[in-house]
Symmetry: C2
Subunit: 205 residues, 2 copies
DNA sequence: CAGTGATCTTGCGCAGTCTGCAAAATTTCA
DNA sequence: TGAAATTTTGCAGACTGCGCAAGATCACTG
C-alpha cells in the first residue's frame, strides 16, 4: 500500500492535473472563473461533467489544485523542521524551500493571482484552504512553543506566519524588483522578530 | 439623503434582521447551516424565497450579517483613530470599543462560533469577509505608516492586526477565564509589540 | 387625502452546482 | 483469460442565485 504507481494511479493524477489546467486555461481565456462552467472544464479535459465532480467539488477547487498540493508539502516540510529549529525559522525556511519561483512559471502565477484577486469565489476558496492549513498546523506550533492548541500565543504566531507567507509571495510576484523570492520571504519574516508595531526605519521601498 | 428613517428604511432593516435571525435559529435547530435551505429561512421570516435573495446572496451571508455590520463599524472607528494615534493602538482600541461582550449575547456568540467552525462554507464566507476588510483597510494602514499600499510592511501589519482581532475574540469566547474581553484583546495586541517570534517568558496560561 | 412616482415584493423561468445511484467501461491480478 | 476491484458516465433530483415583469406598498405633493 506504499506506492503502487500502477497505471491506475498515474491516470488519476493525470486526469486531475488535466482538469486543473483546463480550468486555468478557460478562466484566463474568459477573463474570470465565473464565466467558466464545470461542463466546459470537463469537456476541455475530455471527461464527463460527472467525472469532474468526482475529482473536485467545485471549479474553484480545480483552479486552486496546485495551491492545495503546495500547502500539503509545506506542512510536511514544517513538521520536519519544527523538530530541529525554532518554529519561526521553520516557517520561513519551509516557505523558502518550496521554491515557488522555480517550480512554477512566473507569468502563470501572476495570471493566477489576478484571477483570484478578481473573483470573490476564488478569494473565499483560497481563504478556506488557508484556514484548513491553520487547523492542520496549530498542533505543530503549540507543541513547538510548549503551549496548548487552545492558547492565544500559538494562534497568533501561526496566523502571523501564514499572513507572512502569503503576503511576501504575493508582493514578490507583483514586483520582484531586484530581489529573489527567498530574500523577500526572509525580509518579511524578519519584520516580526523585533515587533511589527513600529515601521522599520524606512530602508525599504 | 442623510437619514430618512422613513417607514421603508425601518421595514427593510427589520426584514434583513429577521432573515438573519431566522437563519441563525434554523441553523442552530438543525445543527448546521448545510441542513437549512433558503426556502426555509424565507418561510421562517415570512417572506418569499426571492425576497430572501434580494437581501442576501446566500444563506451563509445571512448568518454572518451581524459580523459584516461589525466590520463596517470597526473600519469607521479605525479611520477615526488612525488620525490621532499609532496604527497598532488604533486597531487595538477600535477593536475594544466594539464591545462585543456587551452588544451581543455571549451564549449566542459561542453558538454562532460553533456553527461557523463546523461548516466549510461558513468558514469560507467569513474568511472572504475578512479579505474584504483587508482590502478596505489597507489604504488606512499605508497612509498611517507612511508607506504605499503595495508595500510589504503595511500588508504584514494589517494581516497581523486582523489575525489578532479574530484570535483574541475567539479565544476569550472559548474560555474567558477571569479576564475581560478588553484585557484579552490588549494582551493579544501586545504580543506583537516586542516580536511574536519568541514565546513570552511563560507568564500566561 | 387622493394621486403619482419611487421602491419593494413576488412568482416564474433559467442556467448552473453538486450529489446519489446504478450501469457500463477499464484496470488489476491471479 | 477471467473474475474482482475501481473508475467513468449518464440520469435524476434538490438546491442556488439571478433577470425580468407584474403587483403591492410607501413617500411626497398639492
Amino acid at each position: 500500500m506504499a506506492e503502487p504507481t500502477g497505471l491506475r494511479e498515474r491516470k488519476k493524477a493525470a486526469t486531475k492535473a488535466a482538469l486543473s489546467e483546463a480550468a486555468f486555461r478557460l478562466a484566463v481565456a474568459k477573463q474570470g472563473i465565473e464565466a467558466v462552467t464545470a461542463d466546459e472544464i470537463a469537456a476541455e479535459a475530455g471527461v464527463s461533467t460527472r467525472t469532474f465532480h468526482n475529482y473536485f467539488p467545485s471549479k474553484e477547487a480545480a483552479l486552486l489544485h496546485d495551491f492545495h498540493e503546495t500547502t500539503g508539502q509545506l506542512l510536511a516540510g514544517l513538521r520536519e523542521r519544527a523538530r530541529e529549529q525554532p518554529i519561526w525559522d521553520a516557517f520561513r525556511d519551509a516557505t523558502i524551500d518550496m521554491h515557488f519561483d522555480q517550480k512554477f512559471d512566473i507569468d502563470a502565477m501572476r495570471c493566477r493571482e489576478q484571477l483570484i484577486h478578481a473573483s470573490p469565489s476564488l478569494i473565499k476558496e483560497q481563504s478556506g484552504q488557508f484556514m484548513e492549513l491553520f487547523a492542520e498546523a496549530i498542533d505543530i506550533v503549540a507543541t513547538a512553543t510548549g503551549t496548548r492548541t487552545g492558547d492565544l500565543y500559538p494562534r497568533l504566531l501561526l496566523g502571523a506566519a501564514l499572513v507572512t507567507m502569503k503576503s511576501s509571495t504575493e508582493h514578490w510576484l507583483a514586483d520582484p524588483g531586484d530581489r529573489t523570492l527567498a530574500e523577500t520571504i526572509t525580509e518579511a519574516f524578519s519584520y516580526f522578530e523585533r515587533g511589527i508595531t513600529q515601521p522599520p526605519t524606512a530602508t525599504a521601498a
